[in-house]
């Protein structure tokens, strides 16, 4: 038991993550070819528009549809369908918490690949200032609110019905992910009406921004993701948790240093034990880069599954140096 634990805590997280992300990417992007269907309540960007290959569907797509039904129906039996959808979504989500972002999300994985490419080209990354960070961090809640309010408006016949899935229209996943199964048809402006024209143009612009942003900023899009906001609102009962023991923390800031999402609390907060913040993608890089035994750990249903250790830290740092020297 102890040997297994040591082996896990000594794991080369970079490599482990690469392969697990690749697995999820294949499952969600190409699973459809193998008749895999995980349903349409997935808490991650398995894009519905990737029709041929999708192994499941991102919950935001049906959610907007469900909310967009005529109001009279929504507030009677259709409301139950929304609740049922939310329940299934929550169950998926509770299992992995935000690790859906750090390990499963195809759009997140693509951003990590872009980061790896930039790093290989020897170009430095950029960071936000703390002020910018705080402002940008709010956008995802705004997007979430709009994503719910606009379909409701459509249902109440206050907005044109072409705005039924407003977030999907502007989501970069809709344009980027189908390309991986050879479908480039989403990369067009839809001239059928004024609304679709505006929305698809916006979508194209955001996709362009996605590629440029992700090249210079690690996990650029995740700061704005309304799925991430929805996750956070539901994260209290999740089984996978990120824990911190502030007494063991030396405030060295190594965890903050490596955090793709620039979450300062991971290093500075010493009283709160449940340390996961709203921007967290649960990639667990912070745990891997913490040299203090048990200061940071991931737990599943209260059982520690991956803890920071001195030995693991030293091993990984050593490997990181060697890896880059080649």
């Amino acid at each position: 038991m102890k040997t297994i634990k040591t082996a896990i805590n000594n794991i080369d997280l970079r490599r482990f993550r690469f392969w697990l992300q690749l697995f999820f990417f294949a499952l969600l992007m190409y699973g459809g070819y193998f008749a895999i269907d995980l349903g349409s309540r997935l808490p991650t960007f398995a894009c519905a528009f990737n029709e041929a290959g999708r192994g499941g569907i991102c919950y935001l797509f049906p959610l907007q549809h469900q909310l967009g039904v005529p109001s009279s129906r929504l507030f009677s039996w259709a409301g139950l369908a929304v609740l049922q959808g939310l329940l299934i979504f929550s169950l998926w989500f509770f299992a992995l918490n935000k690790a859906w972002c750090g390990y499963a999300c195809p759009l997140g994985t693509i951003q990590d690949w872009i980061t790896a490419l930039r790093n290989r080209l020897g170009i430095r990354y950029s960071r936000y200032s703390q002020g910018q960070f705080r402002q940008l961090s709010r956008i995802k809640y705004l997007l979430l609110a709009l994503m719910i309010l606009i379909p409701l408006g459509v249902g109440a016949a206050l907005l044109p019905h072409e705005m039924g899935t407003p977030f999907c229209d502007i989501c970069p996943a809709r344009m980027v992910l189908p390309m991986f199964t050879g479908d480039f048809s989403q990369l067009t402006i839809d001239f059928s009406s004024k609304t679709t024209m505006i929305m698809t143009t916006l979508g194209l612009l955001i996709t362009g921004l996605f590629f440029t942003g992700a090249f210079f900023k690690k996990r650029f899009f995740c700061f704005f993701c309304p799925m991430s906001a929805l996750h956070y609102l539901l994260s209290k009962p999740a089984l996978l948790k990120l824990k911190k023991d502030g007494n063991k923390c030396t405030s060295c800031g190594d965890c903050y240093r490596v955090c793709d999402m620039e979450i300062r609390e991971i290093a500075d907060e010493v009283n709160e034990t449940n340390i996961m913040q709203d921007d967290c993608i649960m990639c667990l890089k912070c745990v891997a880069h913490c040299p203090e035994p048990d200061a940071l750990k991931a737990t599943f249903a209260g059982i520690p599954i991956f803890s920071s250790t001195e030995q693991g830290f030293i091993k990984r740092m050593h490997k990181g140096q060697k890896h880059e020297q080649q």
């Binding site: 405030s251 240093r257 740092m317």
Partner: protein
């Protein structure tokens, strides 16, 4: 007296002081680890006989732990820590420093003023002076006036804010520019990586030693641990690391054999405050000759200097240099910063991890920041039921009698408490 005779005189006085301490370290205690012989010999040679440690490239003196050594090594230069522990140099410093300055700063400046100082510092190419406490900050101009090239490494007075962090990162980058001018070398990714790997190997060895001291009963005395980390100030880093690794192996063997370096009931002491720097190891030695054992410390001549390690995400120059800057600022528990929550938490955690019975807090007279933090630390420890002895002292041997009485009484009271608890 001509000048060469004067040199010999200074050398011999300071050599006598060093030899006296070494004699105590070696002879007053039985069963010293064999691997400690390397360190005893090293100090004999460097402090007693004035041997010059060979170094490559320019020699860069540092006056505080905040100067990133990896950066200095990466430019092909060699760092040497100038913080001095000699009473002899303390007296020289007193000639031109205010009476209320602390012994450490007086001795450091005294040694820079002295001819043929030991350890050898006469060929310094640059002094990196982090602007930590007021006395070290003001020492900058004095060192310049002595003819040294001084680079002030600007340290912020707080470390929590993002502004402070960014300011410090810029300071460190400016140091890199200065070192490039000095050495004529270019900083490359490979060189910095190599330097960081070397330092991290040294830190790993230190951490192993540190963890081994958790053993109860103890397998290594604190006086030896302090001597080991003091050697890091000037010794060749690779040779030092190899010597510590060897010591670790021996201690591991001791652990397996059930060896006891002190009595089983010896009060386990955590040492904090002003740093014991060779030859001024009087307080740790007093504690251990009086039947206590120093099992851990929170001082800038040992733990604070070597414990915290650097993490890097992307091994590119910009990320590596900023990571280094973070490591030299964020975890530092020096009392010069505005807040001291980190220091309190660190002490409490060390006390738990090392099963500590009591804390000895050394404050050099004149070190106002340590004096000011005394109360908050005492309160935090008292809340945990940990007794603390606060000792205000300096490098002079005059207070030895008084100190030994106080320490004996302190240790005795711990022993009584322990007996009563049983």
């Amino acid at each position: 007296m001509n000048s060469s005779e004067a040199d010999t005189y200074y050398l011999s006085r300071q050599a006598r002081e060093a030899e006296a301490t070494l004699e105590q370290l070696q002879d007053d205690f039985p069963d010293n680890p064999q691997a400690m012989q390397y360190f005893y010999d090293l100090f004999h040679r460097v402090y007693g006989q004035g041997e010059i440690i060979k170094h490559s490239g320019k020699l860069v003196g540092t006056t505080c732990i905040h100067a990133p050594e990896e950066l200095i090594y990466a430019f092909g230069a060699t760092p040497v820590r100038l913080c001095n522990g000699s009473y002899h140099y303390d007296q020289i410093g007193a000639d031109f420093m205010p009476a209320k300055s602390c012994s450490l700063v007086k001795a450091t400046l005294g040694s820079l003023q002295a001819k043929a100082a030991v350890p050898n510092t006469q060929s310094l190419d640059l002094i990196v002076n982090p602007t930590t406490c007021d006395q070290k900050t003001k020492a900058s101009a004095m060192m310049s006036a002595m003819g040294y090239k001084v680079e002030d490494l600007e340290l912020p007075p707080a470390k929590e804010s993002e502004e402070a962090r960014l300011y410090w990162q810029r300071s460190v980058r400016r140091l890199a520019t200065r070192l490039r001018e000095l050495t004529g070398n270019k900083l490359t990714r490979k060189k910095l990586q190599h330097a960081m790997a070397r330092t991290s190997r040294a830190q790993t060895a230190f951490r192993t030693l540190h963890q081994l001291r958790k053993s109860a009963p103890t397998i290594l005395l604190g006086k030896d641990a302090f001597l080991v980390t003091n050697a890091y100030f000037f010794d060749d880093i690779e040779r030092w690391t190899a010597a510590v690794e060897q010591l670790n192996n021996e201690l591991l063997q001791r652990q397996q054999d059930g060896f006891q370096a002190a009595q089983k009931r010896a009060p386990r002491i955590l040492f904090t405050g002003s740093p014991p720097i060779f030859p001024n190891l009087k307080l740790p030695i007093l504690i251990e000759t009086s039947g206590g054992v120093v099992v851990a410390d929170e001082t800038c001549s040992a733990n604070r200097m070597l414990y915290d390690m650097t993490a890097v995400d992307e091994w590119r120059l910009n990320d590596m240099v900023d990571s280094l800057a973070d490591r030299y600022l964020k975890p530092c528990t020096c009392p010069i910063f505005t807040r001291n929550d980190d220091r309190q938490r660190r002490l409490l955690q060390l006390a738990t991890d090392f099963k500590v019975d009591g804390v000895v807090y050394q404050a050099f007279s004149g070190c106002q920041v340590y004096e000011m933090e005394y109360r908050s630390i005492a309160d935090a420890l008292a809340e945990r039921g940990l007794p603390m002895l606060y000792v205000e002292t300096d490098y002079s041997p005059d207070d030895m009698g008084q100190l030994s009485t106080r320490i004996e009484a302190f240790l005795e009271s711990i022993k009584t408490r322990k007996r009563q608890a049983l």
